[in-house]
């Protein structure tokens, strides 16, 4: 029950800013539109593999909308902020595990972003680009499962990024680096199979493809459910990493600020 109220409070806090977020959605949708224009330009004189021009537009539309689920997670889950103010010492004293506490809060944030950002942006693209929706409900459900795993992976990655703030007090650079890697390795703009071979290897050795590429491919009907096994394995590995990091953090914490 505690976990649910942590999530629902984070969701409710965001509701206050719905108006401003809708304006922000226009800007976010514009980014996807720019990338779609680039693919339309490239696809003018040549076929774009198994996707085709229209398929690539659908691909970009889905990754751009999904970015609000697996890309724009709170910077370091708010840990850098609480390190600077000294709040982190209180957070560690709570009778709830730090990772579980921050994770639940972030789930509320992501749920809000899904409803008020991903869905409206994607619907806008469906209208503007006349995209077709999946024919089968199972495809949609599998894609949603892929997105849920992506959201969880993103939470774990940001937890680890946030934890570095205990050593450096500042982790926003790592956050942006992670974002740049999402753009490049997660198949945000270029499907992973079109990366140079060495970069494909790097990509598949990391959890990045499971953030955007795999859910998108499943949604577009190019992949089966078995791809989700990879998501599951990474979720387990990242959970272990987060628990390990918390154990180290407990011994490292220094109270700053005041």
């Amino acid at each position: 029950m505690l976990y649910f109220s942590l999530a629902s409070k984070a969701y409710a806090r965001n509701l206050q800013y719905r108006g401003a977020h809708m304006l922000h959605n226009v800007a976010s949708a514009l980014f996807g539109y720019l990338y779609a224009c680039i693919w339309i330009g490239i696809g003018q004189d040549r076929p774009l593999g198994e996707y085709g021009v229209h398929g690539m537009i659908g691909y970009i539309a889905f990754t751009q909308a999904s970015l609000w689920i697996s890309g724009f997670t709170t910077n370091g889950l708010g840990i850098p902020q609480s390190v600077r103010t000294g709040q982190i010492s209180l957070d560690l004293m709570r009778p709830v595990h730090l990772f579980v506490h921050l994770m639940c809060r972030e789930w509320g944030q992501i749920a809000y972003q899904f409803v008020y950002k991903s869905v409206p942006i994607y619907l806008l693209y469906v209208l503007v680009f006349s995209l077709s929706l999946p024919q089968q409900v199972t495809t949609l459900l599998l894609a949603l499962a892929g997105l849920a795993a992506a959201a969880y992976l993103s939470i774990c990655m940001n937890y680890i990024i946030g934890a570095t703030a205990l050593w450096t007090t500042e982790s926003s650079w790592l956050y942006w680096m992670n974002h740049a890697l999402i753009n490049l390795l997660a198949g945000f703009f270029i499907p992973v199979e079109w990366l140079p071979r060495w970069l494909q290897t790097v990509s598949w050795l990391s959890p990045y493809p499971y953030l955007l590429y795999v859910p998108t491919r499943i949604y577009l009907g190019f992949e089966d459910a078995y791809r989700l096994l990879g998501s599951l394995v990474w979720c387990v590995l990242m959970t272990l990493a987060c628990l390990g990091v918390t154990a180290v953090v407990r011994r490292k914490v220094e109270v700053q600020g005041g």
Partner: protein, 266 residues
Amino acid sequence: MNIRYWLHLYFVLIRSSIRSGMQYKMNFLLGTFLAAGIQIAEFLMIAIVLNKFGAVKGWSLYEVGYLFAVMTLSKALYRSFANDVHHLENYLTSGDLDQLLTRPVPVLLALMSQNFRMMPGELLQGGFILTWALHGMMQAGQITWIAVPFTFLVILTGAVILFAIGLTTATAGFWLTRINELQTLTEDASQTAVRYPLVLYPVWLRSILLVVIPVGFVNYVPSLFILRGELGAWVLLGIVLVAAVCLFASMKLWTFGMSRYQSTGS
């Protein structure tokens, strides 16, 4: 108190800002290293696509690299010298602008000298892509050495245009208070758009990027002349004029906005 006095004061303030930033050496080094990495990853994104599929609407990889690098360098100049113009919202919502008002210097000067950011990562990476693109095009005989001084001029005028756009957006904060969402449109999205040739976009979007938010004049319009010999040499003079007009208009608007400032915060 003439312009030399103000410039001297500005550099003194910037020096102290750099000294305070350097107290956190680890952050500075990590920030530089990662900023360069971010730039490389962003350029790789388009470079890989162009490498695989060839030119896009007649624009080669070198030409797109040039557009990308000029935008990076102009932006780095603008954000180095006027970082907190971009972050005016923080001052407006917290009421910190009141503190700046009490100082015996113009508010804009005080704002510009706060949190001066050297951006070595962006400068290095932008410089590297620019050198690579110019070298490639010179080898192919597409341009001559004269493109180099022209490019420096364009980077400077570009920084002025970006500053003017940033200042105008910030000025809107005197009425709106919260400007982050607006900045995403007028600064982030538009700057991302013109990293790629404007011919990719439909006419309505192209017009917006040239007329409403004149960010197309930072790199695209001058590159038509410098790289492709289109339009004519008058373009360079035109760009200087556009930059001057944008700067003048944004300063006027800022002065007007300041007169409408109402303090907030607790």
